[in-house]
Symmetry: C2
Subunit: 390 residues, 2 copies
């Protein structure tokens, strides 16, 4: 299959490209190096010493004799996006190509506006390019479980049947996202749904939980192919950040009481889920939504897991409760469903001690690269009380 | 009260400014003349021979000895928006300042992207300016009933109590908007709701039906103060367009079978509703949603009403069914609620024969100005079948 990976230089995009390449698909990646540029802006970088995209593609060619096409450019440039889709004629597009950070989107007005216009415009351009040049192509779009927020009812997968005053309909599940970034994903979902209804496009929205892990089958043990690994306040997700904190002897930074529950998923399972979505495309005109996580943990549970894993390595891990920089419920009902990917065959790799030890081991290898200044939260959702991160 | 009208040069913005000015409020208007520029792009213009904003403000000063402050600039310019809010220090902001046309947003990729980035960015900038310089100010934002689409259940006002698997929550009413313009309004609603939850701002979203009518108390009979009146494919709403068609002897252009039901409201009632919202502000932290229409008609019912009104004036009005350029249900359940503005005191002016005769009379006065080419739909929601409007 011809598979186009948008954001193919990223934490998930790069391993996804290798995953499909090694399985005999024709793969092209698009990236404008936005994430590297945002790290430069923030004075941070990946824990793992990643090579340039161009270098990694060359290395992959040496290792595998497989070509990955690269298109360097910005999805918000409609002519560029049009050109890529016309030229490569993808049968599936896996779309990770967005500004991915909630804290970054909350820094100030400019960052909020950038996050929304960047993500919404890029996705609109992809939809128009599909409509005009690849109408049968299947869009697999990375959304987030954060689109739903934490409602007091079970979270279904994208839609909910509502019975109201004696009548019934199945409608989009109501969204209560928690940052301008999460809002951008909600906007995308509405736009993609409309394009499916109106133009007959086919799409799958993967509302993903928080990803953890470093290695995948294709990158394991090969430093020149390794993917990026972020642990900083803006781009590091919570479990990855906790593991880095444990290794360098920094207290685990739990925001508030740590009762926030979220869905989590191993990076290897991300690839499994994306593969299942690509291999089982949505029908034409159908906007399908899968919730993509394998386990639910509270932040405090995660901290305890990391503390226990550290203890096994002789590391004494402290847990520190910081005032929550976000506006979010610290205790809430949380019961999201995630049945559809399992129905397609997902076999989850749950968070194990073995995985924890492997992650901590890899982090130890690179611990001299940790920029400690970048760990503590500086961006507050409540601007009057916090300090600006800029 | 200090009231800032965004989009104060528009069909509703200008009469709203006069309405509050004559009632003793201090009024400022913001506009970048976008609507005039879009008309220039499309080769169309207002049926009524409106003066420039600056000229109308000067005329108003002569007539009333009342000043209306003007800020000429673009809300997507964050520094400008910040400056206006800091300078004028509004207690209420009435926000009409958006690209208002569904067909315009559907012309092509560029118009879709423009409609969304323009509307979303402008509103984000307003929210940040409020947060930083006018945290107690009440935002009265014009939304649209089109955000809801036509679900098979009663449409509530903004929120719905959902009982699901034995639990309950009141959540945002699910949205199924029908164009990139309508989607931009859904995006705005989510962004404003977030700003209220997160920063404690107060806002009222007025999900307005389709407005009809020309005159208001302040503009009636004074050609130098008259508001714009659009009848073209892009900016003319259905009843206004039908009335112009009747006067010039053009068949009424019913899209498809005409079974589409929508909420409608008289322009004078728009002012009444906005006044009620401004006079009864939302609480801090509260994102309040009112559905703002007074009657529901099908498009075919409207056509019959216009035909009957024409007959009284001796005009023989034909009705023509065109293939629907939009993707929308031509027959559907439709029962939206609109109780909250009535509870605040709205006394509706229903669509009457008297109003129809008055509209037709005013249109006859300007019928030589009608640009007939601009009436038929050229923008199709289904691009393969339609012709591009550009």
């Amino acid at each position: 299959m011809r598979i186009l990976i948008l954001g193919g230089d990223g934490y998930l995009g790069w391993p996804t490209a290798l995953h499909f390449s090694v399985r005999g698909h024709e793969v092209a990646v698009v990236d404008n190096m936005l994430l590297r540029q945002m790290h430069t802006e923030r004075g941070t970088e990946s824990l793992t010493p990643i090579q340039s995209l161009q270098e990694r593609v060359a290395t992959w060619r040496q290792r595998s004799e497989l070509d990955i096409h690269t298109f360097i450019g910005d999805l918000t440039d409609g002519e560029f996006t049009d050109h890529v889709v016309r030229e490569f004629a993808p049968e599936a597009i896996v779309h990770y190509g967005e500004q991915p950070s909630a804290p970054y989107s909350m820094i100030d007005r400019q960052h909020a506006v950038f996050s929304q216009t960047n993500n919404v415009t890029g996705t609109l351009n992809v939809l128009f390019a599909m409509r005009d040049h690849a109408a049968d192509c299947h869009l697999v779009k990375l959304g987030t479980m954060g689109e739903y927020g934490t409602p007091n009812i079970d979270i279904e997968e994208g839609y909910i049947e509502i019975e109201h005053r004696g009548r019934k309909d199945t409608l989009p599940f109501p969204k209560m996202p928690g940052s301008f970034y999460h809002l951008s994903k909600v906007h995308d979902s509405h736009n993609i749904h409309f394009a499916c209804r109106t133009w007959g496009l086919r799409a799958t929205d993967l509302n993903q939980g928080i990803v953890y892990g470093i290695e995948t089958d294709e990158t394991a043990g090969d430093e020149e192919l390794i993917t990026r690994f972020d642990y900083d306040e803006a781009f590091g997700t919570v479990l990855n950040r906790f593991c880095v904190q444990a290794v360098i002897g920094h207290p685990l930074t739990v925001y508030g009481e740590g009762g926030q529950q979220r869905g989590f998923i191993n990076i290897r399972d991300t690839l499994q889920c994306v593969d299942l979505a690509v291999s089982n495309p949505a029908d034409g005109g159908n906007f399908r939504v899968f919730n993509q996580f394998t386990e639910v943990f509270s932040v405090l549970e995660l901290a305890e897991t990391v503390r226990a894993a550290g203890a096994q390595r002789g590391i004494d891990v402290a847990v520190e409760h910081l005032p929550d920089p976000r506006v979010e419920a610290e205790h809430h009902y949380y019961n999201p469903r995630a049945d559809r990917l399992r129905e397609l065959g997902l076999v989850p790799r749950l968070l194990s001690d073995e995985l924890m030890q492997s992650m901590l081991g890899i982090i130890e290898r690179y611990q001299d690269r940790v920029i400690e200044r970048a760990i503590l939260p500086t961006t507050s959702w409540r601007p009057a009380e916090g300090t600006s991160g800029v």
